[in-house]
Symmetry: C4
Subunit: 238 residues, 4 copies
């Protein structure tokens, strides 16, 4: 029984967190209509929680968040030993059409606890040109430790997008990848960190775009970028 | 009596829907002052419902929405057989000055249930140059199935605008047309779909504009666009 | 006494109107901090009502609106005949630092009932280059009847700004003038019309700017502009 | 006891002011996530009050504002003579990671009562190119008395940023400096003035950027700039 109660509480907490983090996507105007999604790994399990497909942000409730396995298949309960089962329910909704990409990331990057996908305007504009965002701001050094890389063009429907994300990010300090002609995916140790990376990705995409409109931004030495990144990852915040 | 009650309920529902959808135009900043409008066909009738002219969005109420025939003439009731009549009333307001264009679309495109017109900034900028928006984003493939086309320059006052909309859209996957020097009109199976098309039209107009400011976006193969469109139209959402 | 009551009611109404219209300037993001102002002529008098200087928009109350004569000098009452006087009070605040320009317009353009000044971003950018906004949108034809003209560079402190506004607008259909290196001033038959002109001026300044960033907007024939303007001024709205 | 009560009241008031001014940073969209901060000197002391590090703006409370000395070290109380002490408390939070820069400014510019740092988009874009914003708007003459200068590239961690701010501003009318590749810092006689300078800095950065996108803004004579600045600093507001 305690195992069952534990998993139910954990899933309720993750559903609440994933649901409420979508409000940050609208607060920072990273999404329109229903075109963006947040997911989180359920700690200590092979499960994840993700937004349902095509539901408006202002209508989302925690109970609507879908629990799936790490292949993106909805799961409504689990065995908890000695023949007992626990059922956390799932609403009669399909998970986000991007679920396969999120699931691929969780399967292949065990350190990742949260994934976010948006079509935020400036990041998507860099993605449309297939151009990495150069690290010309100290806040990029802090957050991204270098440039924000571009991932391959990939169609939805199989593991192409997930594979492109993982292959690009595993060679980079950056928690954000710009999937070509598509938009950004970001990762983090938890869902909140991935949302922060999505917010900061759009912020630096916009600022560097605007800087570039009237000339060439000044480069920052790689040694300085490394210093900024090392300090920020270790000492910023509480 | 049941026929009369049925049409009254239907008209009340459509008025409510058309009224409340205008809030999406302001939420996504597609309109300023009173410069945009939503209409819906009344299902099973030769009637449509549209915004009154020159009323501020924050002051709109469902009762102010005007019921017109499919030539844009206000109609305040109908015969329901056996000499009975039903009166749904109309406020003492003129319908939108764009009513003729909406009505023309309903007369000539029976599959259309909703029409939206805005002067949203980026879409109107493409319209001012008379330039179609190229399909360089996967979300454009999903929603528009190709580029967003330009319709002819047309003056208000007769069927020129409606004719330009219909002639342009009947050869396109796109539910949006950029009327030259004027702005976008969008269509959908219902008013909500037409509003979504208006929101997505501005979103892709802005993103492709920004991509183009610093170089050439990478093209997407037509075969990939066709795949995206086919999948999205069939399997997205609930 | 009835004369006194009449003028008190009129001034209270105009103060309310001028105060509340400032909310439209913030709603459409035409102003930051305290950098914009609305005024109205008091009908049937040689008085005007204007915003106090340097007060934040969210703190404005009707009682703070300053009544001045048409030279911009605060006036707190008037004789109403037979030795009687009426006192509408004025707060212990200075009127807007732009009061002299508003007052000059009321003295020299008797048909004007409202004046608005902002530093709205895109209109001010055209003003910084001293470049008129060309009429390449049907909504510009409707509202402005042609291009939006540029007025001279003028320093604050005497009648230079007011004179520049009047000399520029008297030769134009446009209710908006872009004062060089400074920003837009708009006029209307009443304060609400002048606010609408300020909103539309920024809207077309932005849209034409964005159109121009990627090429040349298509011109509209002058005959078509004249048609749009004539229709809109006569038949739009209720 | 009265000395103790006085300092407690003063610190409570300054904490309230510093806390609430952060809402202006979000109102004018100068900051995202937690990337900006306001501080104030505590009048009549060698103390300052600053935002805690990494706390979201919507969660800030006055009690969370950190009191530090003018080297940025948190201080939770002081002797008030005759062996008495007063304790205003400090939350268990670290001060902003930019505290050293704020503190350096207070130590070296005794006339400064408030400091603000943001990464506001357009100002940061000019900073990324290391380019001063030219004074081509009358509102820039009013507020900045000339161009907004660029400060050196400097890494966080010692007094480099503070030194760069002070060395740049002491030769300028401007209350704003664009630290290269980093973002703006602004100063004022109190925290509200420094916030106003941050708001106006972004506003002119944006407007001049947009003016420059389509050509060269017209220069303003230095004599006119001097007139604007002298008038505005002396007579604007109440």
């Amino acid at each position: 029984m305690s195992a069952g109660a534990g998993i139910l509480e954990t899933i309720a907490r993750v559903r609440q967190e994933v649901c409420s983090l979508h409000a940050e996507l609208t607060r920072y105007e990273l999404v329109v209509w229903t075109a963006g999604n947040v997911s989180a790994r359920v700690p200590g399990t092979d499960l994840m929680v993700i937004k349902p497909s095509g539901v408006a942000y202002q209508d989302l409730t925690p109970e609507q968040m879908i629990v799936t396995d790490l292949h993106g298949t909805p799961v409504r309960g689990t065995n908890v030993g000695a023949g007992g089962t626990v059922d956390w329910g799932n609403p009669p909704l399909s998970p986000s059409s991007d679920t396969a990409a999120h699931a691929y990331v969780y399967r292949h990057m065990p350190e990742v606890g949260g994934v976010v996908h948006t079509h935020s305007t400036y990041a998507t504009a860099w993605a449309a040109r297939g151009e990495a965002i150069p690290c010309v701001l100290t806040m990029m050094g802090d957050e991204f430790g270098g440039s924000i890389p571009v991932g391959p063009f990939a169609l939805i429907g199989d593991d192409s997008i997930g594979h492109g994300i993982v292959e690009t990010l595993k060679n980079s300090n950056s928690p954000a990848v710009l999937m070509q002609n598509h938009g950004p995916f970001t990762i983090g140790k938890d869902a909140k960190s991935a949302v922060k990376a999505a917010v900061m990705c759009e912020e630096v995409a916009r600022t560097v775009h605007i800087a570039r409109q009237l000339g060439d931004p000044l480069p920052i030495d790689q040694g300085h970028i490394d210093s900024l990144y090392a300090r920020y990852q270790n000492v910023y915040g509480q």
